[in-house]
Every structure is written in C-alpha cells, then in structure tokens.
C-alpha cells in the first residue's frame, strides 16, 4: 500500500473523529441525552491529563506513577480559592480567594508545575523501578498532606458548588459551552504536543528515552530536558484538574489517589504510548468501559455488574501482553500502515539483545 493513500486514510479517520467530537453536543441534544455532554466533557478533561502524562511516559520513557497528584493539586487550587472567596479570608494570609476561571486555570497550571519541578528534580535522580516507586510515594505524600488539612475538610474535600466564572457572555454552567472550551483546549494541546515532539526539544527527549547514555555523549543534558518535560506535564495535568473540579463540583484527596495515577497510565497505554491521539482514545475507552461495562455485565448476569473490575483486571494484563500499540495502533492498521505487530520503541536489529530498560549496573 502506498504512503500517500495511508496518509489520506489516516487523515480521514482522525478527521472523522474530530468531526464527531465537534457535533457531539448537537447529537446528544437531538437525542435528548444531555448526560452524554457532561460525560464527554469529563472524558476530554481526562484526555488532557492523560496526554500530559504521555509527554513524559510515551516520549520521555519516564514511568511516573504519581501523575494524578498534579491533577489533584490543580483541582485544589480551584477548591481552595473557592473556599476563601466564600468566607472572604485570604489564602495563607496573603492572596484573596476567587472564582475567576482565567486566573484560576493559570494559577492551577503554575502551582502544579512548581510542585512538579520540586518532585521531578528529586525523582529524576533515579531511574527505572526506583523512579516508579518514588513518583508514587510523593503522590501518596501529597495525598496524606491534603487529608491532614482540616481547614479544607480533610478526607471529605471541598464541595465547589459554583463553577468558575468566565468574562463576557461565556458561562461554564452551560454544558455545551464548557464542552467546547475543553475540546478547544484539548485540540490546542494535541496540536502543540505534535509540534513539540517533532522539535529539537522533543527529539532530545526521545533520544534520552531510547538511549540516555548516547544522548548524553552527544552533549545533551538529558536531566534538563526530562525535568522540563516533567514540569510541562505537571502544569497541563493541573489545568485538567482545575477543569475537572468544575465538571464534578467537588475536589477531594481521592483525586490524588494512586489508583487514579494508575488509571492515567492505563489510558495512555490502552490508547497507544507515544502517539498524539492515543491518550484521548484511551481515556474514552477506559471511561466508556467504566460507564457501560457494569450495565453490560448486569445484562448478561444480573447483579454481577458490581464486580466489573474483575473483568478489567485480566483485560489489562491481556492488553499489556498482546496489544502494546493500543487503539492508535489499531487505527494505524486500519489506515493500512502495515500489519498490527507487537510494538517496539526501537526496532530490534538482528544480533541485538532484547531491549529492556536497565535499572542496575
């Protein structure tokens, strides 16, 4: 199959998907199923978070198991500002509270990025399994820190019963407007990511993923590239968190729970690591399963839907073992970019040992 036809088909598929997202609110309203607009909004917000994780996981090769922490921190920025706007007290005796969406989204990104900078600088001293465990541990630390904050209701979190305000006629209370705002942000992020990974920065980051020693020998300070990516990813996750609070109306330490970080990794891998569209596809697939699998199982065997995760668990293992290119890989195959093969980040040449990320020696 020739290259041009493949490219055309790929463009057709992704164009169709974006087109579907653009008209989804109209379809949902026409069908009288307004629920799907808010559901799709949440999917797109988590797609933002998963896409940010993809920058460090897929392109940087850094398995951060604490990414939900930055989502949660972004969420808490909105929540805490809301509490202080309500009772008129300043935050930490310094800043006024508020509900201005533009300020809050920017603040969420800044705070999450800052926390990511500190945590990243420590975690990036290690590699491999230690990196996985430490990112997880720091996320857990922030989780317990937030639980210990009695001012913000500890484990119960904050009910943010008013959405952040936008200037002019824009209003986040309008589900359709909120949806298009999130969709616009996601498309902008994906466009930016696409440019970023192709840039010099992105190439250096990927080079560090594929062979860190060689990248360093070429004169790249891999630590700096990785930390920059870590901070960027944290900031975008913070943005997603701030949006998520507006979508769900509450923020609690559960946002930072380690299973949420696991969910984000699952989304990235399910959709296709190191692909632009993958995390979005993965977010849609995982949340779709979460939403509809229980019903499906209930239909097969009444009352069993409660235990849907017993299906998800083994499913994950099977996906990991046999379909590492994820849904984006399926789309590639449909576009005719070659048969669906087991993925390899670096093509293995004959004579080379199987590639594994070494952690010792």
């Amino acid at each position: 199959m020739d290259e041009a036809a493949t490219r055309r088909r790929r463009r057709l598929i992704y164009g169709g998907l974006v087109g579907f997202l653009l008209v989804l609110p109209l379809l949902a309203e026409a069908a009288g199923q307004g629920f799907y607009i808010s559901f799709a909004t949440r999917v797109l917000i988590l797609a933002l978070a998963a896409s940010s994780l993809n920058l460090i996981l897929g392109y940087g090769g850094l398995v951060s198991f604490g990414h939900a922490a930055y989502v949660g921190i972004g969420g808490y920025v909105v929540g805490i500002a809301f509490v202080h706007a309500g009772d008129g007290t300043p935050i930490l005796g310094l800043l006024p509270g508020g509900t201005d969406a533009l300020v809050l989204l920017a603040a969420a990104m800044a705070v999450s990025g800052l926390v990511a900078a500190v945590i990243g600088a420590i975690c990036l001293r290690t590699r491999g399994v230690a990196f996985i465990m430490i990112t997880l541990a720091f996320a857990q630390m922030l989780f317990f820190f937030l639980v210990s904050l009695r001012r913000y209701n500890g484990e119960d979190g904050i009910a943010v019963w008013q959405r952040s305000t936008l200037p002019g006629p824009l209003d986040l209370n309008e589900p359709v407007q909120f949806y298009y705002l999130v969709l616009g942000l996601l498309l902008a992020l994906l466009y930016g990511l696409n440019r970023l990974v192709a840039s010099r920065f992105g190439r250096a980051l990927r080079a560090a993923r594929d062979n860190e020693g060689r990248a360093q020998a070429l004169g790249f300070s891999t630590f700096r590239y990785q930390l920059t990516a870590f901070v960027l990813a944290g900031a975008v996750a913070g943005l997603a968190g701030a949006l998520l609070v507006n979508a769900t109306g509450f923020v609690a330490p559960s946002y930072l729970h380690w299973t949420r970080s696991g969910d984000l990794i699952v989304m990235v891998v399910l959709g296709g690591m190191g692909t632009i569209a993958g995390p979005t596809l993965g977010a849609a697939a995982l949340m779709g399963m979460e939403e509809f699998l229980p019903e499906l199982i209930d239909a097969l065997h009444d009352g069993a839907g409660d235990y849907w995760k017993i299906v998800l668990g083994p499913l994950l293992i099977v996906i990991v073992l046999f379909a590492r290119r994820g849904l984006a890989g399926v789309i590639e195959a449909a576009a005719g970019a070659g048969a669906l093969r087991l993925p390899r980040l670096i093509p293995r040449r004959p004579g080379q040992p199987p590639r594994r990320r070494r952690t010792r020696r």
């Binding site: 541990a137 720091f138 630390m141 990794i265 998800l312 293992i317 073992l321």
Partner: protein, 306 residues
C-alpha cells in the same frame, strides 16, 4: 515527655517496622532476582489476612488459622507467578506495573465477591489478648509484642537462609548475575517460583497478624504496599539488609511523628496551629526522610550491588 509513652511508641514503631520488613523482604528479593516490580504483593498480604480469618474461624484458633494461611497464600503466589508473572520478566517495567495493577483490581474484586465488602474481625489468640509489663509500670499489648518477636525471628531466619544455606547461595547468585548463575546450572525459573512463594508466605504472615491488630478489609494491601515501596527505596532496591533497616526507620519515624510532632511544635507555635502543622508534617515525615535519603544516596542506604 512521659517515659511510658516513649517506650510504648517505640514498641509501636518496631511493630510497624517488622510488619513492613515482612513485606519488603519478599518484594525486594523478587525484584533483586527477577528485576520484576510486583504491585500485587499487597494483594498477597490481603489474601493472607482473609485466609487467616477464614481458617481461624473454621478451626476456632488464630494460630492454626495463621499457620494454614501461610502455605495457602504461598500456593496462591505460585499460581500467580506461573500463570501471569512468568511472562513479564523480560518485559519493560511499565508492562510489569500495568499487568500487576490489573492483578490488584482482580484480587480486590475477587475478595469482595467471596468475602463481601464488610471488614472482617479477626481476634488475636486468647493467651496474647492481654497486656504484659515490658518495663516496671509500663504495660504493653502482648500481641503486638509477639508480632515484634515473630518479625525479628523471621529476620534472623531469613538471614540464615540467605547467608548459610545452599538455597540462599543460589538466591544470591541469581540476584548478582542471572546469566552466570543459569550457566552454572541454577534453574532460575524454579528458584524464582520458590522465592516468590516465600515472599507470598511472608506477606501473608504480615497480613494475618495485621488483620488481628487492625481489621481485615478490601484494599488493606495497597496501604502497606506503598509504605513498603518507601522502605525499599530507602533501604536500597534488592537488599534484604536494607529492607530490614529501612523498615525499622520508616516504622519509627512514622510512629514518632504522629505521636510527638504536634506536642513538639506546641513548644514554638500556638496550639491550634501546632496541631494542624504537626499532623501535616507527621503524615509526610517518612516521605521527607525518603527524599532526604535520595538526595544524599540515590541508590538507597544499602545498595544491593556495587
């Protein structure tokens, strides 16, 4: 400060420490030999607790329950190793994380299906139910003391196993150079199954004892798993000695932090502020220690291989 309180909290710290050691020893061995990160280690702890509760109820004896739960959990470990984990050794760590994350979901739901969502009560044996006087005028829970004794006994036993027996020699050989050990005739796959079963039994031992102190519930494994990770990172991944000292350090820091930090801060801060800051700091203490260790020694206190 009240000396009785200090003694009590120190013992509490040791008790948490040996519990963490039982978990960390298995996890760190599994990692050292097979380079496998196993999130589902916490599930074995949980399964161990449920099995202990079930057997204890059936035979009306905690000790018998615990003794039966150990081989049963080891069997579960072997099944998991043979069916799921064996395919993961040659995979990247990300694959291992995801697959064992899947295992956690599976086990949590399985346990919820079998035993239901309500936590189960597990009582310590009668002869350990009371208190003993550890120092004149300072009583302490006999069961918690027994946990410390069991933990230290296991630590000594493990040391003897690894340093003094043929199996231990193979384990050390496998950990330091797997291809060489294979070339010299060690059946690494079988060795690993044995080590995994041992790790599962230790996790079940910790789970069974913890079940009688806390309660037996779904999700109990994850809480201790995350603490265990901190222990392993502090101690040095792959090192059993590191796991032991890391576990005691984490146990003591966590317990002391919760018990004394708010009071200490009251000396310099207003009571209300001190309580709030103290509680926050105490909940973060072990992670701060971990960060500090990493800054000074990124490979942990006792790096496994030079």
């Amino acid at each position: 400060m009240d000396p009785a309180l200090v003694v009590e909290q120190t013992l509490n710290g040791f008790q948490l420490g040996v519990m963490l050691f039982l978990m960390a020893a298995g996890l760190t061995l599994v990692f050292g030999i097979m380079d496998l990160i196993n999130l589902a280690h916490g599930s074995l702890y949980m399964v161990g607790a449920y099995l202990t509760a079930t057997f204890a109820q059936a035979f009306d004896s905690f000790l018998l329950g615990l003794l039966l739960a150990l081989p049963a959990a080891a069997l579960v470990g072997v099944i998991v190793e043979v069916t799921a984990l064996r395919t993961l050794y040659r995979r990247a760590h990300l694959d291992q994380v995801l697959a064992t994350f899947g295992l956690i979901l599976f086990f949590n739901e399985l346990v919820r299906m079998i035993w239901g969502p309500v936590p189960i009560r597990l009582d310590p044996p009668d002869f350990l139910a009371g208190q003993v006087e550890v120092l004149p005028g300072i009583p302490y829970s006999a069961f918690r003391l027994a946990i410390i004794v069991v933990g230290i006994a296991v630590a000594i036993g493990l040391w003897a196993l690894i340093a003094r027996t043929r199996l231990g020699m193979r384990i050390r050989a496998g950990a330091s150079n797997r291809p060489m050990a294979t070339a010299l005739g060690v059946d690494i796959a079988r060795l690993f199954t044995v080590v995994f079963a041992l790790g599962a039994a230790l996790a079940a031992l910790a789970g069974g004892m913890a079940g009688a102190v806390l309660s037996v519930e779904v999700g109990m494994g994850e809480q201790i798993l995350l603490l265990t990770f901190v222990v392993i990172v502090i101690g040095g991944i792959g090192s059993v000695r590191g796991a032991f000292f890391g576990a005691l350090l984490v146990g003591l820091v966590d317990t002391y932090g919760r018990a004394f930090l708010p009071d200490l801060l009251r000396l310099v801060l207003e009571p209300a502020v001190a309580d709030g800051v103290g509680a926050s700091l105490a909940s973060m203490a072990i992670y701060l220690v971990m960060a500090l260790v990493l800054v000074v020694r990124p490979r942990g206190l006792f790096p496994a291989h030079g």
